[in-house]
Structures are given as C-alpha cells and as structure tokens.
Symmetry: C2
Subunit: 247 residues, 2 copies
DNA sequence: CGTCACTTTGAGGCTAGTCAACGGCGGTGG
DNA sequence: CCACCGCCGTTGACTAGCCTCAAAGTGACG
C-alpha cells in the first residue's frame, strides 16, 4: 500500500504532499501543481469495494485523479459479465473517455483501498482556458490513453498481452525487480480479454521458462528482455518506452 | 466519391467550401471555421495508393483533417502484416493519438483518392490557447476516439464486430439505405482483427438471413434492428447513437 | 474448523485462423 | 480482339488457441 487510505477531512493542505502533483511534475516536467489545486476538490475519497465512483450513463460531472491505490473502470454487459477497461494508478486521470460526449462510458470502482481527488468538468474547462499548460496536459494524457487503447486493441496472443501488461505495470508502478500487483488474476483476465484460467496457465508457463517467479500476488521479473520480445509486437509498453524508441 | 480529388493549388479560398468545416459545424454546433482557417495549411493533398502521409516513428509535425475520400492509419508488424488502426472520413482529425508523445504511432495512407488539410502542431497549440473552443473540440474528438477505441477493444464475435462496423460506417457516411464502403474486405478484416475469409463468410451469413444485401462493394442494410442487436454489446456505434442512449 | 475468494490443473469443445483452390473483373500487352 | 495476369471475393477442409466446464488446492479470516 503506497499510500494511507484513511479518510482525510483536511485534505486541502495535503494537496502539496499529494502524490498526484509529484507524479504530474515528474511525468511532464512542468509545474501545474497550482493550477490543479484550484480545481481539485480537496474532498478526498476512499473506496474499498464499495459503491462505484460513477456509473455508465451518468452525466459526467467531473474528472478524477488518483492519489493512492488503484481504480478500475469497467462495463457490464447484458449477461452481467464485467469487462475492465482500464486500471488507474496514482497520477492518472479517470474519465477522459467521457469528455467527448459528457456521459460516463464505464463504471469506476476501487481495486484496492484508494484515494481520489475530484475535478469538476466545469471548473476544469474554465481553468484550461486560463492555463494552457493544463489544457495541454489533459489533452496529452487523453492522447496517450488513446494510443494505449489502440495498441491494446490488436489481436495478440495470450502470451503477448500478458507480457505487455506485466512490463507496463512494472513501468507504471515504478517498482524494482519485484512487482506487487494491486489486482487479481480475474481482473487481469477481464482487462486483457483472457479467461482467468488462461492468465494462470500463461503465467505458470512463463515461470517454467524461468522468465519470472510467482509469489502471492507479487511477481519477480527474471528475464525482462524475453518478455519484452513478446510485448514488442503490442507496441506500447509505456510512454517512456515509446519515447525512448522514437529517440 | 463525395469530393473532387484533383489537386487544388488555390485551396485557401476553398476553405469556406471545405466539407470539413461544415462537418465540424454540424457535429459540434459551433463555428470554429475561422479558427481552423488560421492554422490549416491550404495545401490540399491527394493520394491514391502512393507514399504515406506520414510513417510510424516520424516526429509529429502536424495534425490532419480529411476533406474528402478516406484515409486509413495502420501499423506494420515484424512479419510485414499490416493492421489498420482507424478509418478517417471527411471532418475527422488524423494524428490525435500521437499528440501525447509527439511521435506518429502509425502510418497513414489513402484508401481512396482523398484530400487532406494540414494543421501544424505548433500553430495548432498556439491557436488553441487563444481559441478555447478549438481546444475544446480537439480534446473532445480525442476523447471520442478514445471511447471508440476502448469499445472496439473488447473481445467480441466476428458477427458483433462486423455489425457494429457496418452501423458505424452508415452513421458516419450519412448514407441512405445503401452503404458504399470505401475499403475492401481485406481492410475491414485488418481493422476488425478478422481474416478476410471470416469477413466474407459473416457478411454472406448476414445476407442469407436477409439482414442485408451485398453488391459490388456496396451494402444495402435491410434489417438494422437485428444488426443493432448484435452491435449493442460493443457499445459504441457512433457519438450520435451514444448521446441518444444517454438522453 | 468452516467458509469464501482466489488460484491451479485437467478435459473437451468452439470460434476463428490457415491453407488451398476457384470464379469474376479490370487492366495490360500481344 | 483476346490471352494473360493480378487482385478481390468466395468457398471448403483442416487446425489451433483459447474458452468452458469441472474440480481440487491454497490462504485469509471469522
């Protein structure tokens, strides 16, 4: 747990300590911290497995930033099966896919105990007008998410998708050799369009090859080059990797 | 062919007649026409099956708008197989997925004889600062594209994907009962992650059921409700449909 | 100690991909 | 004018990867 998930009623002053601002600064090299503090509702929200942050079809009132934990967005089809559309880690913005039509296109719930800040779309829009850098950042993350979605939408094998997922999570979690995943295999499968059995079998297969070792919901990557070879076809592991390739 | 594909050297004045501006006005209800004319290079470009508009890995110099015809973006994997990432019709913006990292993430080529206008990213950025409505529109189309990509990335059957594709194209082409597709079955398959044989078989299957009738690269939809039933699971057919559902 | 959620393993089936072959159509050149 | 060629669409037979169903093992927690 990278962040204390206890509700915090005096969150306003905490914004300076907010991992989101540091994440944003780190990722973009800019300092939009003040800009964000003007729109981000200090109301911190926590959520174990409780009621969703928002639901599909809701009029979109806000965009959310993750401060700690892990949030998933998902849809539920007619048969009640849930499909996870994205995992959001500290520093990520949730709800960008709904900006186009003003309606939430998924549900959002916590994977682990999490904290989010709320950025009402009205205030955000206004602020984006006076803070071009902020508008730029929102557009860029939306663009990055689009690029990621397009990359993931290819028809790749279970091994390719899983390898790409693991490397992407390693980059985003900034972990060392050992990767502690917030979500279970069921959720991974739902996200990667694989049955949980297939996720398990494929991971075990990687382990048999000595490419990683599986612990209790933690994974130690032992042969990233081999995994990268598989993931390469998918194209995008992370923004960082992508930039490095272009250079 | 909705638009003359002949190169036009005096395109500047034509911008007022540009189908893109009318498309944009129709889609958003606003009048960003003047704003666009300030950044859009009047240089119209035509392309049959010639050299790509840009290539994967190119430093992104511009965003493009489609004036006429149909442009596809695609990637080529290590084995030389091409995968189509998107079809772009008049009024669409090309290159939004590259804004996040400043590099083109796909190649772009013409499906049919087409015309595009060029919006250099520098000028676009500047203009977006002075024209919040324009920035808003760019963000919204990026968001819509993200939503579409997320919807299409699900694991749907060949029938579901094809039905969704047909209805989406019908909406976007604004055609009547008969749909004249700019692309062949090979391209459709590449876009939907289906073998061309599967595309053909599925279409024939639809025809046998009386849901559509196939002509030479034209399709007459005879039972849209049935197709819509299949496509429903995919979630997004068009922005319009999505908005209607939310209402 | 029992429950519950998650993971693991096995057996079998189905969707869609692959391989192969053919018909139609348009262009090209003899 | 017609033979040839290549591309596209079509159809059939076979294959493979992944899903489904079933069941047992594991750990957390009351």
């Amino acid at each position: 747990m990278p962040f204390d998930a206890t509700p915090n009623t005096r969150a306003h002053t905490d914004c300076l300590l907010c991992p989101v601002t540091s994440c944003m600064a780190r990722r973009n090299g800019g300092d939009h911290a003040q800009a964000w503090s003007e729109v981000l509702a200090p109301r911190t929200a926590v959520m174990p497995g409780a009621s969703p942050l928002f639901n599909t079809g809701d009029r979109q009132q806000a965009v959310y930033t993750v401060r700690g934990g892990c949030i998933k967005t998902y849809t539920v089809d007619a048969d009640g099966n849930e499909r996870i559309r994205g995992f959001f880690l500290p520093g990520d913005l949730i709800g960008l896919d709904g900006l186009g039509c003003g309606v939430h296109l998924s549900n959002a719930a916590a994977v682990t105990a999490s904290q989010v800040c709320v950025a009402p779309v009205g205030g955000l829009r206004t602020l984006m007008q006076s803070q071009p850098a902020l508008a730029q950042r929102v557009l860029e993350q939306t663009s990055r998410e689009l690029a990621h979605a397009l990359a993931m939408s290819g028809d790749f094998s279970a091994e390719q998708r899983l390898a790409a997922f693991l490397l992407n999570m390693r980059d985003r979690l900034g972990a060392g050799g050992t990767l502690r995943l917030p979500m279970g295999q069921r959720d991974i499968g739902s996200y990667l369009r694989l049955a949980t059995e297939t996720v398990c079998r494929t991971l075990k297969s990687f382990e048999r090859r000595g490419w990683l070792s599986l612990g209790d919901r933690s994974i130690r990557l032992l042969n990233e080059p081999k995994l990268g070879e598989l993931a390469e076809a998918v194209g995008i592991v992370s923004g960082k990797t992508e930039l490095a390739r272009a250079a």
